[in-house]
């Protein structure tokens, strides 16, 4: 399948053409899902690559986000004597916003770029064409496994991020600043709602972000001009487009889910 980069006369029409091309590519990807079931091993390999290999960065960043959040909140809330609520606020802000958004941004930088660069290079060295000639559908073998891996990995990574953030908050709040351990946990469990915060916040948002980031990454890889500059630009575009898409989509989803 020869994916062509959509053309446009100026920045606006070019961006519109890209969004349109991306949408059509999504349909191709989804249509290839049944055919990609026979490449289950490839999907698992990609899951390892984009998911498991991203664990370190997600865990470390989650820990520090939780720690700094607790530090800031403690100092602000201590003015009103409300430090006992800080654990609860950390949990809510992490579950509803920071968890999915920061995980998705990190995921775009860590996994999205490598997907784009990998597919772009495969394209430039005729590997995609070679697969076509060996009667292996590159959409089902290359694109869809990466897309599915991203969609599956993102919610899991987001859960790990949230857990590490709560742990970081606990470390700073309880261990260092001396908030009562019981207060920390009971306030949190009293306020966090499984449906609105965990299902809608963590799982649904990160599922959507995972789909958007990997779609953009795979699409950019497949439409890369086969040059070194082309691959470089495509990788950059993956990060830029993913970041904008994540933050814009976050606003829309929050508005609908609240």
């Amino acid at each position: 399948m020869n994916q062509r980069r959509p053309q446009g006369r100026n920045v606006v029409t070019q961006s519109l053409a890209q969004i349109g091309g991306c949408g059509l590519f999504l349909l191709t990807l989804l249509a290839a899902i049944p055919r990609s079931f026979r490449y289950l091993r490839e999907t698992i390999r990609q899951l390892w690559f984009v998911g498991a290999m991203s664990l370190t960065i997600i865990m470390v960043c989650g820990l520090f986000v939780g720690m700094v959040l607790m530090l800031q909140l403690y100092h602000v809330l201590s003015i009103f004597g409300g430090t006992s609520a800080s654990g609860m606020v950390v949990a809510l802000s992490v579950y509803r916003e920071l968890g999915p958004v920061v995980t998705a941004l990190l995921f775009a930088g860590r996994a999205g770029t490598s997907i784009t660069a990998e597919i772009g290079l495969m394209r430039a060295t005729d590997q995609i064409d070679a697969m076509e000639m060996m009667a292996v559908d590159p959409i089902a073998y290359v694109a869809t496994p990466r897309f599915l891996a991203g969609v599956i990995a993102m919610p899991l990574l987001c859960c790990v991020f949230c857990a590490m953030a709560i742990f970081g908050g606990h470390l700073v709040g309880v261990t260092w600043l001396g908030i009562d351990n019981g207060t920390f946990w009971s306030n949190m469990t009293a306020v966090v709602d499984v449906h609105t915060d965990i299902v809608n916040g963590v799982l649904f948002k990160s599922l959507a972000f995972g789909a958007v980031v990997t779609l953009i990454a795979v699409y950019q890889g497949f439409t890369t001009p086969p040059t070194s500059e082309g691959v470089a630009y495509a990788t950059t575009r993956t990060v830029v487009a993913s970041s904008i898409a994540i933050l814009a989509l976050d606003f829309v989803l929050t508005a609908f889910l609240m």
Partner: protein, 278 residues
């Protein structure tokens, strides 16, 4: 040339091209091209660079669709095929890419095993023997565990050749198989192509520039220029038929029906000499 009206291929023709017209980027690559590739023979396609020899191979495999015309492989029209039919057909075709196009994440063994793993459920033992047999045939059994980036250009091409023949296809398309091979490897590849053709009856189509190599193995040569077949015949007679096309191409002359220069404006004026002369 055979009768162009007869659209159904007889048994002796594996690939039949009729009225093939392709325009790429405003340039006419093929203009009503017609040719027949005989079954079980070695056919060479020659012609000046840029005449679309690789494009012709891509038309035959359905990687590119022509603007008009029909390409019959086993009597089925390739441009009209569904994706499934196209993939089914490609399982019976081996294709050797100009730049080898090995999968860089897999080692040599896995590259050759790739088509087998994708399309068959053969036990590992059988895959192993098949792959090692093909690697032995191209002289690279010892390199089975090397990665593609550790291979020289000529070795990579031989691995790609082993991969192309791993399924014992009925038709193999070789895109520039001799480029970058040292004389020993070249001889081995020539021998291999001939053996595959003679023992298994595999139809081979070569795109090549090396006249000496082509004369050694090809049964039939098509010379393509300006979007048409300008000469054809067996390799000995075609070089001696005396037409201006063959004289220029096989004689390597810059002057003739095929211009050596890519179309351009006036040389002197582009260098800025016109004003100075006046």
């Amino acid at each position: 040339m055979t009768d162009p009206v007869r659209a159904t291929p007889d048994d002796s023709t594996l690939v039949r091209v009729r009225g093939l017209t392709t325009v790429l980027g405003g340039k006419t690559i093929f203009d009503q091209l017609a040719l027949d590739i005989p079954r079980g023979r070695i056919t060479a396609i020659m012609g000046p660079s840029g005449t679309g020899k690789t494009t012709l191979l891509k038309h035959i495999t359905g990687q590119m669709r022509p603007d008009a015309g029909e390409i019959l492989v086993h009597g089925q029209n390739v441009p009209g095929m569904s994706r499934e039919a196209l993939y089914k057909m490609r399982e019976g075709i081996g294709y050797l890419f100009q730049n080898s196009a090995l999968l860089t994440d897999f080692d040599v063994f896995e590259n050759v095993a790739f088509p087998l793993r994708q399309h068959t459920a053969l036990p590992e033992v059988l895959i192993r023997s098949l792959v090692l047999m093909k690697l032995q045939a191209v002289g690279l059994r010892g390199a089975a565990r090397l990665m593609p980036h550790e291979l020289s250009g000529g070795m990579a091409r031989r691995v790609a050749l082993a991969r192309a023949i791993v399924f014992d296809p009925q038709l193999i398309l070789y895109d520039e198989p001799f480029v970058g091979l040292d004389p020993v490897a070249l001889n081995q590849v020539l021998k291999l192509i001939r053996t595959l053709n003679q023992t298994l009856g595999i139809t081979s189509v070569l795109v090549a520039h090396e006249l000496a190599a082509v004369q050694q193995i090809a049964d039939h040569v098509f010379l393509i220029a300006n979007g048409k077949v300008v000469a054809q015949g067996d390799p000995k007679s075609i070089a001696a038929d005396g037409s201006p096309w063959t004289r220029q191409f096989f004689g390597g002359e810059a002057d003739g029906p095929v211009p050596f220069q890519y179309p351009a404006g006036d040389y002197a004026s582009e260098l800025g000499f016109v004003g100075a002369v006046k």
